[in-house]
C-alpha cells in the first residue's frame, strides 16, 4: 500500500511536470504576437487535375507511402546518428 501511495505521488509529480510544460507551452503559444495571415487555398482546378491523376493506373498512393516511409527512415537515422556520433560509433 505504501508503495502504491508513493507510486501515486510520483505519478502525480511527473504528470504535474508534464502538465506544467504543456501549460507553459500553451501560454507561450497564446502570447505569440504574430497572427497567421489568411493564405489562399489550393485552386480547385489543381485538385481536379490531381483527381484525374489518381484515376489513372499510376501508383500514386504507393509513391506517397514510399516517400513518407523513406523520409521517416532518414529522419530516424539522422536522430540515431546523433547518439552514435556522440558515442564515436560512427564518424
Amino acid at each position: 500500500m505504501i508503495w502504491d501511495g508513493l507510486l501515486g505521488i510520483l505519478e502525480d509529480a511527473i504528470q504535474g511536470v508534464l502538465d506544467a510544460f504543456g501549460g507553459i507551452v500553451n501560454a507561450l503559444i497564446e502570447a505569440w504576437p504574430i497572427a497567421m495571415p489568411d493564405l489562399p487555398d489550393l485552386p480547385s482546378e489543381m485538385l481536379t487535375a490531381w483527381g484525374w491523376v489518381l484515376w489513372t493506373p499510376l501508383p500514386v498512393a504507393a509513391a506517397i507511402a514510399l516517400l513518407g516511409f523513406l523520409v521517416g527512415v532518414e529522419i530516424l537515422w539522422q536522430i540515431i546518428q546523433i547518439g552514435l556520433r556522440w558515442g564515436r560509433v560512427v564518424d
Binding site: 508503495w3 502504491d4 507510486l7 501515486g8 510520483l10 505519478e11 502525480d12 511527473i14 504528470q15 504535474g16 511536470v17 508534464l18 502538465d19 506544467a20 510544460f21 504543456g22 501549460g23 507553459i24 507551452v25 500553451n26 501560454a27 503559444i29 497564446e30 502570447a31 505569440w32 504576437p33 504574430i34 497572427a35 497567421m36 495571415p37 489568411d38 493564405l39 487555398d41 489550393l42 485538385l47 481536379t48 490531381w50 483527381g51 484525374w52 489518381l54 484515376w55 489513372t56 493506373p57 499510376l58 501508383p59 498512393a61 504507393a62 509513391a63 506517397i64 514510399l66 516517400l67 523513406l70 527512415v73 537515422w77 558515442g87
Partner: protein
C-alpha cells in the same frame, strides 16, 4: 588515464540513464512481481538481471561484486555502480580488480546521479513553480471552452476573459486579481470569470463577439477591445452583459438579414443596466434556436432559452416600428413586424424567469465548463461498459479507467453488488466519488471500480465481463489503485500563429490533395467563336464515365464498376506498379545509404588481406 576515466565516466552516465529509463519503461502496466526494483531488492533478484539486460549488459552481477559490498551501499547505487563496472570491464586496457571496479563504479554512479539529478530537480522545480504561479486559483474556463474562445476571437490567454487591452492577461493569483501585462499596458480593474459570475461571461462573449464578425479576421477582437461597451465588461457590470446577450438576439431579429454571417452592425449603447429586450414584446418571433454555424470567427454557438406557449393579447402597430430609447438609445434598431389587429394568439414566449432559467440553460446545454455527472452507482446497477457510455454521454472527455474494487466489507454498496457491476466512480485528482448531479470539468479523469468475482477463475482475475479493450482514453487496470500511467499534456496546435501556422497551412493543402477522390477524366468545353469566320464552335462535353456514355462499359472494365479507380485493370496495374515502385525505391535508398561499399565483380572485390 585521464581519457580512460573520461570514457568510464561517459559510459557510466549512459548506463545510468539507461537504467533510469529502464526503470521507467518497466513500471507502467508491469506485473508487480517483476521489473520493480525497490531499494530493498537484492543482487540475486531476477529483476536485476532484467534491468541489466535492458541496459544492454547481460552479465552476472553476483560475479562482479561481493555480498559484503552489496550490504554497504544503497540498492540503486549498487546497480549503477555495477553498471559502471560492467562498462569498465568492457575496456580491455583497463584491468582493475573487483573492489576497484566497484569503487570506481560507485564514484561514477554518484557523480552521474548528482550531475543529472541537480539540474533535473532545479528545472523541474522551476517549471512546477512557474506553472503554479501561472495557474494558481485561475478562474479558467474548461479546456473545451478555452479552445472555442481562443478560436472564436483569438483572445490571448485562452480560457480567460479577454483582456482589456491587447496583450494583457487577467490572472488572479491566490484569489487576488492581477494582470500579467504582456505589452506594458496596465489594467488594474478586477474582473469576474465564469466561475465567479457563473454563466454570464462565457456565453456572452460568444454573443458579443459575433456582432461584427464579418470581414476582417480580427473583427471580433476589435469589437471587444474598441467598443465602448467593453467598459461595461471591465466594470463587471453583470446587467450589461445580459444586455449584450439579449441585444445580440435582438439585432438578429431586427435585421432579418438573411442567413448567417449577415449580422446587423450593432449600434453603440451608452447606457448600462438596461434590459434591451423584453421577450413579451415579440411573441411571434421565435429566434431562440440552437444555432451553430461557421463564420469568419469560427463556430458560433447560441442557446435556446426556455419557452412556453401562452395565450396573449397581441397588439402590434402596422408596418415597421422604430423602437425608441427604451430599446435603443439611438433609436436606430427597426423591428419590422406584420400588420395585425389586437387579438389573443398562441405564442411561444420566453418564460418569465427567463433570465434565470436562461442562465441554467446555458450552463446545462451550452455550458462548456462543467458536466453533469451521471449516477453509475447504487442503486443503479450498471456494468462498466454501460457506465462508461453514460459518462461519455454526460460529456466526460478525459481518461476513464477501470479497476477491480478493493474489498471493503463496511461498504454497503459493494456488498450489494454482483460481480462485474460498478461499485464506485472515482474522480481525479483525489479519487473521490463522483457525485451524481454535480458539475465537473469535462477533462476530469475517472476510474470505474468494478465488483470483483469472489471466486475468480483459475489463473486469476482478468477483465470485467464487458470492459472495453484498452485503447485510446480508456483502459482497464488491475488492482484498486491507479497504476503508473502518464499522459501527455494537451498542447494547442499553434496554427493561428505565424510562422507555425505555415506548417498547418501546408498540411491542410496537402491534406486536400490526399483527400481528393479519383475523378474520371472529363472535359467540358464551352462554345467559342472561330476568329474571322463568324462561326461558333459548338460546346461539347467529353466524359468517360458519364452515365450513358458510349465508352462507359469499356471504362468500367478498366476501372471497375465504381469508376473510382479502385479495381479493374487500372487497379491491377496500380498494384503491380506500386509493388515495383517499392522495390525500386528501397533499392535506390539502400544503395544510397550503403552504396559504394558493395563488392564489385571479380576477385578485386575482396579486400587485400582476405584475397591474399
Amino acid at each position: 588515464m585521464a581519457s580512460g576515466r573520461a570514457r568510464i565516466r561517459r559510459a557510466g552516465i549512459v548506463l545510468a540513464v539507461l537504467a533510469v529509463c529502464a526503470g521507467f519503461v518497466s513500471v507502467p502496466g508491469a506485473p508487480a512481481s517483476s521489473h520493480e526494483c525497490p531499494p530493498t531488492c537484492h543482487y540475486d533478484d531476477p529483476s536485476y538481471e532484467d534491468a541489466l539486460i535492458v541496459a544492454g549488459a547481460a552479465v552476472s552481477v553476483p560475479a562482479l561484486v561481493s555480498a559484503e559490498a552489496a550490504a554497504e551501499l544503497a540498492a540503486w547505487y549498487e546497480l549503477e555502480a555495477a553498471l559502471g563496472a560492467v562498462a569498465t570491464l568492457g575496456e580491455a586496457e583497463v584491468a582493475l580488480g573487483t573492489a576497484e571496479v566497484f569503487a570506481l563504479g560507485t564514484e561514477v554512479g554518484v557523480a552521474s546521479t548528482l550531475s543529472l539529478a541537480i539540474p533535473i530537480v532545479a528545472v523541474g522545480t522551476a517549471v512546477v513553480v512557474s506553472y503554479l504561479v501561472l495557474t494558481a486559483d485561475r478562474q479558467e474556463l474548461s479546456p473545451f471552452s478555452a479552445n472555442i474562445l481562443s478560436r472564436e476571437c483569438d483572445y490571448e490567454g485562452a480560457g480567460w476573459i479577454p483582456q482589456y487591452e491587447e496583450g494583457s492577461l487577467w490572472t488572479p493569483i491566490w484569489g487576488t486579481p492581477y494582470i500579467f501585462n504582456v505589452w506594458g499596458i496596465e489594467c488594474p480593474e478586477p474582473i469576474h470569470t465564469a466561475h465567479h459570475a457563473t454563466w454570464l461571461m462565457e456565453p456572452v462573449l460568444f454573443k458579443s463577439s459575433q456582432i461584427d464578425s464579418q470581414g476582417e479576421l480580427d473583427a471580433c477582437r476589435d469589437w471587444v477591445t474598441d467598443h465602448p461597451g467593453y467598459t461595461g465588461l471591465i466594470g463587471n457590470d453583470i446587467a450589461y452583459w445580459e444586455f449584450q446577450v439579449w441585444q445580440s438576439f435582438a439585432a438578429r431579429i431586427a435585421g432579418h438579414m438573411g442567413g448567417p454571417g449577415t449580422w446587423q452592425q450593432q449600434s453603440d449603447y451608452p447606457t448600462r443596466n438596461h434590459w434591451l429586450f423584453d421577450p413579451g414584446d415579440y411573441p411571434p418571433l421565435d429566434p431562440w434556436n440552437n444555432i451553430s454555424y461557421p463564420s469568419s470567427c469560427g463556430m458560433q454557438l447560441y442557446v435556446a432559452p426556455p419557452q412556453a406557449l401562452v395565450s396573449k393579447l397581441v397588439s402590434t402597430p402596422t408596418a415597421a416600428t422604430t423602437h425608441g430609447p427604451e430599446w435603443s438609445p439611438d433609436g436606430d434598431v427597426i423591428f419590422p413586424t406584420p400588420n395585425r389587429t389586437p387579438d389573443f394568439v398562441q405564442a411561444r414566449e420566453v418564460l418569465a424567469d427567463g433570465s434565470v432559467t436562461f442562465r441554467d440553460a446555458i450552463e446545462d446545454q451550452l455550458d462548456l465548463a462543467t458536466v453533469l455527472g451521471p449516477d453509475c452507482e447504487y442503486p443503479t446497477a450498471l456494468t462498466a461498459d454501460v457506465c462508461r457510455h453514460a459518462l461519455r454521454s454526460a460529456g466526460f472527455r478525459g481518461w476513464i479507467r477501470y479497476a477491480w474494487a478493493e474489498p471493503a466489507l463496511e461498504d454497503e454498496d459493494e456488498l450489494l453488488r454482483a460481480p462485474g457491476e460498478v461499485v464506485d466512480v472515482l474522480r481525479s485528482p483525489y479519487w473521490l466519488p463522483l457525485a451524481p448531479g454535480q458539475h465537473y470539468e469535462p477533462q476530469t479523469e475517472l476510474r470505474i471500480e468494478v465488483q470483483p468475482d469472489p471466486n475468480p477463475p483459475e489463473g486469476g482475475e482478468s477483465l470485467p465481463p464487458d470492459a472495453p479493450p484498452c485503447e485510446g482514453l480508456e483502459c482497464f487496470q488491475t488492482g484498486g489503485t491507479p497504476s503508473f500511467q502518464l499522459h501527455l499534456p494537451d498542447i494547442e496546435t499553434p496554427c493561428e500563429k505565424f510562422p507555425f501556422g505555415v506548417f498547418c497551412w501546408i498540411m491542410d493543402q496537402l491534406g486536400s490533395w490526399f483527400d481528393q477522390p479519383p475523378i474520371p477524366w472529363h472535359l467540358n468545353v464551352d462554345s467559342w467563336e472561330i476568329p474571322g469566320t463568324g462561326q461558333s464552335f459548338p460546346a461539347f462535353a467529353w466524359d468517360f464515365a458519364a452515365p450513358g456514355a458510349a465508352a462507359l462499359p469499356f471504362i468500367q472494365q478498366l476501372t471497375g464498376d465504381e469508376l473510382d479507380g479502385g479495381g479493374g485493370v487500372f487497379g491491377l496495374l496500380r498494384n503491380v506498379l506500386g509493388f515495383m515502385l517499392w522495390l525500386w525505391g528501397l533499392w535506390v535508398y539502400g544503395k544510397r545509404k550503403f552504396g559504394g561499399k558493395g563488392l564489385p565483380d571479380g576477385d578485386a572485390a575482396l579486400p587485400e588481406e582476405i584475397g591474399a
